[in-house]
């Protein structure tokens, strides 16, 4: 339990650091994202730290969908105009995702990567 709390604290510290860097360097990225990058670098340099964070991060990542609930419920409260476009939106998503995957597959094949 303590470990989980420490883990959470650690993640928050990195998030804070990320926000700080975004502020100082005036970059247009979410602070949490920069925090993730900072943490990544730190973990690569000091793998031992992973142990402290693994528990908390596992819980957060497992329950990731839960964290999106509040925002996703909002879809039912979108205004009329946007809801009317929903079928078109779905079509765009299908097309775009499909094309993106096909395109990436093509790039991979073209780069001539050997299978193993």
């Amino acid at each position: 339990m303590i470990k989980l709390a420490i883990g959470l604290l650690g993640l928050c510290i990195f998030q804070g650091l990320g926000e700080l860097v975004v502020r100082l360097l005036a970059i247009d990225l979410p602070g949490a994202l920069l925090g993730m990058i900072l943490l990544l670098i730190t973990l690569v340099v000091r793998p031992a730290l992973r142990d402290w964070l693994e528990g908390t991060s596992g819980h957060l990542i497992t329950n990731l969908s839960l964290l999106f609930m509040p925002a996703s419920v909002g879809v039912f409260f979108l205004n009329r105009d946007i809801l009317l476009q929903f079928p078109a939106i779905v079509v765009v998503l299908i097309g775009s995702t499909g094309l993106a995957m096909a395109f990436m597959a093509w790039v991979v094949l073209r780069s001539g990567v050997k299978r193993d």
Binding site: L8, L11, Q15, G18, D28, L29, P30, G31, A32, L33, G35, M36, I37, L39, L40, L43, P47, R50, E54, T56, S57, L60, I61, L64, S65, L66, L67, F68, M69, P70, A71, S72, V73, G74, V75, F76, I82, Q85, A88, I89, V90, V91, V92, L93, G95, S96, T97, G98, A100, M101, A102, M104, A105, W106, V107, V108, L109, S111, V113, D116
Partner: protein
Amino acid sequence: MIGLWVYRRSGRNTLLHPLLIGTPLIFIAMITLQLDFESYYEGNGLLRWLLGPATVALAIPLAQQMHQVPALFKPLLVTLFLGGFFAALSALLLGKLVALDQQVLLSLAAKSVTTPIALGLTQKLGGLTSLITVAVLLTGIIGVLLAPMVFRMSKIDDDRWQGFILGVTAHAIGTAKAFEISPRCGAFSTLGMGLNGIWTSVFLPLSVSFFLP
């Protein structure tokens, strides 16, 4: 307040796609209890706040996979840059083709990125967070459904690349599917998801003003 009880309750599902089931349920509950969205949203402050640390937490699985990278470094980067760019761009162009609203377009651009990052990014772009959440969810499911066909037709059977493509285009939901294929597939999917999160965060704000006057 009953409201708080609803918030807690609605989260306790162990279904495969809790968002798909839970969201309509909450909506029904809200109408029944006559809750307005503002109260619900505010009441879930803690849940929303956790999204920050959750984003940071993504670094851990990523750190675990780092050693897999050096061998494929260049192809990975090229595929990432082109693929991530294409994923967002195709959404914008297709959306323009079917004449979607400006704000809808802005809300769809980040769809290939994992939700914590997509939310922050969409806010920055001026899009609707409720829409991007749905878009991300749908994109993930669509990606997982289309992937087998794409892999079959392109004859890509290297699970590292399958994973990477899944991760870049279908983020977390794609990664879940990737782990079903193999641990290595899942590893590369996590990598793709994480890297695309970074890459899209970088190019999208810059490009959007270019493509949407």
